[in-house]
Symmetry: C2
């Protein structure tokens, strides 16, 4: 029995959310090592094996930084995926062999959530192709990356439910209440009445109205708002419920 314990590689994978100008929730995907002969031109979640001197949190920070060039991003570990069959397809094993120069037949991954303002310039030091992909149009990904994304959607809902300030990581610095409403609706998947939403939001003293309205819009120009993190922290405000 003793020799039957796994001795394995460990990776981190990052699900990075962004919210675009068409009010869709997006995830950052990268192109994985492409080999014309294998026909492997799949996208994947950004990730990496962890180094011997790293913890998993450090490895996830490294991946984020190599991927985006952005220094400070929120990052939250949400689950270890360790199904014995998660990396057993031939094409995945072949890719890992080339990428890491090892035969890897089992790999455990620790998944992280992160949030990125979608207007941030992505400046990757590692990948040529980094693309935002709407969550309702994610292609078939290698390993169990589709499963990881599915579970990350449940997780981001929980996260925003327990700390509403997290939602502002996805919005531009100045935003309209309509944008906040559309983002909240996209994440929560609940039908929320916009009038009630406005009423609720106007009771939050950490959402500050600016003396500025939208320009060059076809609809009635809306007022801009900003989020005041200090007031929020002081309140320890609770989520919309």
């Amino acid at each position: 029995m003793k020799q039957d314990f796994i001795h394995t590689y460990v990776s981190v994978d990052c699900v990075i959310f962004g919210f675009d100008s068409e009010n869709r929730l997006n995830i950052l995907l990268v192109q994985r090592y492409s080999d014309e002969n294998s026909g492997d031109n799949k996208k994947k979640l950004p990730g990496s094996l962890i180094f011997s001197n790293e913890g998993v949190d450090e490895a996830a920070s490294r991946v984020l930084h190599e991927l985006t060039g952005i220094k400070k991003m929120v990052l939250k570990q949400f689950k270890c995926f360790a199904d014995p069959m998660r990396a057993s397809s031939e094409i995945d094993i072949t890719w890992m062999g080339k990428e890491y120069n090892h035969t890897i037949d089992r790999i455990i991954t620790v998944a992280y959530l992160s949030l990125c303002k979608i207007d941030h310039k992505i400046n990757s030091s590692k990948y040529d192709n980094v693309d935002w992909c709407p969550v309702d149009a994610i292609p078939t990904l290698p390993f169990d990356h589709n499963k990881i994304i599915k579970e990350s959607l449940v997780e981001i809902r929980k996260w925003i439910d327990s700390d509403f300030s997290i939602i502002f990581e996805l919005l531009p610095k100045k935003f309209t209440i309509r944008q906040l409403y559309q983002l909240y609706s996209a994440i929560s998947e609940k039908q929320i009445d916009i009038k009630n939403f406005h009423k609720k939001i106007s009771s939050f003293n950490y959402i500050i109205g600016l003396d500025e309205i939208e320009k060059n819009v076809s609809h009635r120009a809306a007022r801009y708002y900003k989020f005041d993190a200090k007031v929020y922290k002081k309140n320890n405000a609770k989520l919309i419920k």
Copy 2:
């Protein structure tokens, strides 16, 4: 660089909470392999390396069952602990060498939370010594087990905040409102006014009063209540806030 990726063992560790008749929150600890020469008689969290055909959830279920003999227990993965130094003390390395018959110099663990009615009979097929230990009297444990317990306390609060039904896993089938209050206070670490608590609780239709009162108590005998999981689910009731 390539050979610098870790290739490691992976374990699971379980933090199992119980609530005793003296209204203290407890955690189940086991005696680890004892060697008189090494003076190693420390307690530890119950855990195990994972087998090659297991996922982490299966391994955690196996540990729970070997530990308690109880078939159905709630179980929730909460965090992967992977600090490169977490298993680097000589006494820990020696113990792992004996227990697993391998030299293990790095080990990653996935931590789980579980809840057990403390009046359940613990019937371990693996350990001779399984003991409840109050959370405010946990001794110094090997590895990073003290840190895991500290973080598990934050996690159990979040869990009960997001799903109040979880708290009844810790109470006897019939309980008094005082017991529920004391358990909630022990977990939440908030000062809660008992009158407000009574008022709040009486508004919850899933907490059902029984035609039975305490017997042989020195204080005024209180009424017993039970939790109705079906009504709770129907309500999708929210936590006390």
